[in-house]
Symmetry: none
Subunit: 195 residues, 4 copies
DNA sequence: AATGAATGAGATTTCATTCAT
DNA sequence: GATGAATGAAATCTCATTCAT
């Protein structure tokens, strides 16, 4: 029961924040759309920011779990990246609002002081990608490169494509983009654009 | 004289907004750091949002001008992209704060109604990249691909690398990243990662 | 309880606005005199203007209700007007501040766009008077005349007398004027000044 | 020359204040519409309020002069009142904006402390009317009555009709009302409404 | 645990007025 | 005298958060 309410708030907040932006998403509005009262939100979250952090935390956990499971199989780097992207874009397709948030709601430097889950996500995911790339370089699967920069670039490319997809007015178009995105980006990543 | 003041506000606002985020950058703070009074800001800008728009407008103009000049030379796609990135990362290196803003301050959907310079930037630049890619596909310089997705991906990759670079505590590290970024990303874009 | 607070704000605002004028009556001041905080005002009113509108609305309702009740009795025009004025001046006597507001706070043309309760009052009451006059002319109780102009004139005469009365420094003088006003104005309206 | 500029400001201010209301009529706007700069206004007027006072002063002078001239002729009270109203409504017809201001821009009590020209007008004109009425009662031209109340009532009636007239969207309608108003109100004042 | 009215700090914006040129 | 950029006090309104019920 307790977790149901927290989950309700998370899900409602995702919709409201995706629609209005974090700053314009008032706690009153979130409460109203969740059919509860503002006070209740504060029984489950320290403050408004904590809702956003929790949203990132849940998504981060999903990806971490997926990664861990994937690490147990012995896959090529290419397969790993492809699976990861397929999983990610499928998740966004299921809940586009969450994609908007993950790709748009960067933390402001003011809150940078305290280590937050949002930073865990925005830095942790690229760090994971970097680790994969480093392994790939080690075992000769890919060429040596500045894996730090490339990892960040891949992360940014994915975020940007997500934002582009969920920004489509037409749902079918969004679905189409999200379905193509994984293979398109994997091919781009490995073969580049030259013929 | 008149334009000096507007320029002073723009430059100060860049610093303040980069440091605090647009929402936490109060008009009082911007005025104080510029050594002027709040009222003066409103002699040059309709409202606070207009400052942000003007920041994007100036940067957009720089890139547009550069692109136009570049189009007159007959360069390969690869050279075009490389020059563009070199120019971009050099600009960010000169004024890292501006990089933070360009890469972080996405408009919230609420303001999406009116077409703003910010959207011109966030949609216009990828559109330009897409045009370059389409030409490259046409003349056989690159392989056929979903140029829309790839353009968006490249734009996101660049933004993400900028944000990564300017987020470095150490200035030397930032400079190093920004210097490597162009060639690293161009190579990544054209040759991919496979050996 | 909820309506108590709204009523408290209305009553306090009447005093403050009557004393200082609508524009000089700050929300801070109204809140302070009501013993609440500014924010609370905005839990009950959309904005400051809405307080003024509500003041007019309540007064308009009182007069409308009174008129409706009066219409059910079959009275002469003269009796109707007399009763109306007696009721009006008695109400002002009970709460002189409200008289100041009704007679002084005309809306500025800027707000004229949206139909407001204030306009309902300033145009609706003369319209009601005109209707009474038209009936009087029809059934031969009064001479034919430009009922539109006369209705407006009567409304203005009453407002002016109210403003004159409530502007008296001495309370007794105010009471005296308000008690005489109805019969004086009715006699004036019907018999004029000639001997 | 000096007076030309002051006159220009007065005339422009009348239009702007009539259109927007005193409070919404900014000094910048008045200056812009007069084709001068804000600073110049302050060479001719102590402050913004002084412009409004000057507007009232000029109109008050016109009426006082007219009254004085009229007093030298030996006219009946009825003729005096009729001439006064004809003169007043004709003036409003020539410059409706001034009518709006005279009838709408009551001073807020805050400024009531200092004796202003605006109060001179709002209290002085009724006082003059009262004097006329008192004379009429004295020489038996009209019946005894509370001349104070009736004077205030007549003043209010006239103001209200002016406001009604200038509020007409259609110019012809405004002219028609202002032309009828004097005789209609004089007849009303002397004969009343009964048959 | 749930409520939602009350809070009040804080943000944006306006605009009458000044004063150096 | 004329200018108009600069000023900054002051006003309205918002909204995250609290707490008595």
């Amino acid at each position: 029961m307790k977790e149901d309410k927290k989950e309700l708030i998370r899900e409602t907040a995702i919709e409201v924040i995706a629609n209005l932006g974090f700053h314009n998403a008032t706690t009153d509005r979130i409460a109203a759309e969740a059919g509860i009262s503002v006070g209740t939100i504060y029984n489950y979250f320290r403050n408004k920011e904590a809702i956003l952090e929790y949203i990132f935390e849940v998504e981060l956990d999903k990806r971490r779990t997926y990664l861990k499971k994937m690490q147990q199989e012995s896959l090529s780097l290419r397969d790993k990246l492809e699976r990861l992207l397929i999983m990610h874009f499928a998740a966004i397709n299921e809940n586009p609002a969450v994609g908007t948030i993950l790709a748009r709601e960067h933390p402001t430097p003011l809150h940078n002081n305290l280590p937050t889950t949002i930073n865990d996500f925005l830095e942790g995911i690229p760090a994971q990608i970097k680790k994969l790339l480093d392994e790939g370089v080690q075992n000769g699967e890919i060429r040596p490169c500045n894996t730090q920069i490339i990892a960040v670039a891949i992360f940014g490319a994915v975020s940007s494509v997500v934002l582009h997809a969920v920004g489509q007015g037409c749902e079918q178009e969004r679905v189409r983009i999200l379905q193509q995105a994984a293979s398109e980006l994997v091919e781009f990543t490995f073969e580049g654009l030259i013929i």
